[in-house]
Assembly symmetry: C2
Homo-oligomer: 148 residues x 2
């Protein structure tokens, strides 16, 4: 864990620290990415997990519209740019060791490219996996092609 996050462990509630120092200490992985969990701010539903590089994180914090890094496409992915299903940021938090993000968002419609509200629909139960949700929208109507 980097020194700035170690120092924050005993920082009191509501203490404030320069954002730039914190961003400089974020534990991006060897590909320059950090996992970002998106949670619907009012219902608490976990919608998806995707990845951000520093540019995506800074854009998200500045614009309030969630921007990820698409590993499959190798470029910034402004959530909803092809599907219309945008994520608006309510708040963002790093974890104790600065290598995971939790985003509180307002998600328009489905977060998942399959048209489901959440990506987490494959439940692991005893000796079976069970599909736990139906699409809200036919995915063929969400995309010309591609994902987002």
């Amino acid at each position: 864990m980097s020194e700035p996050f170690k120092a924050l462990e005993r920082a009191p509630r509501d203490s404030r620290h320069p954002l730039t120092e914190i961003l400089d200490a974020v534990g991006f992985n060897e590909s320059g990415l950090i996992p970002a969990i998106a949670q619907q701010h009012d219902s608490g539903e976990v919608l998806m997990m995707a990845w951000m590089n520093r540019e995506a994180l800074e854009e998200t914090l500045h614009t309030g519209r969630v921007c990820y890094w698409s590993r499959s496409r190798g470029k910034l992915w402004r959530k909803g740019e092809s599907s219309g299903q945008q994520q608006h940021l309510k708040s963002a938090a790093l974890d104790c060791d600065g290598d995971t993000l939790l985003l509180q968002v307002e998600q328009t419609g489905p977060a998942c490219h399959t048209g489901r509200r959440s990506c987490f629909y494959v439940a692991l139960e005893n000796d079976e996996a069970r599909i736990t949700a139906e699409p809200l929208i036919d995915p063929d109507t969400l995309y010309g092609s591609g994902k987002g």
Copy 2:
């Protein structure tokens, strides 16, 4: 995305699929790990994100007690084995492309090694980072040494 997860995209709600086939298709990364998000099952609070290898995932599903893979220690990490703050599994789900897990858990006390309930206490706000939570328990009382 692997073929089994592609096939599940259009599977109907409550359809069931052999667990072994699904586990064989999980998108473990180049280190053999998958990120696992732990959410308190009743409050919806996101507590932490850690990593599992296949052995940790299978142990968790079999025993109902959450077991991660500690990247820093290079071994299985049965959450709470040193701190006493265990996680009991209520349910587990994979996401649409089979490379992230969401665990619904019953967390005893704090999930975070700092003694806080959740690891996500470093809020990113405008030009500052703000500490949003106090420890429930002094971390010095949680551990002799180490983390867990």
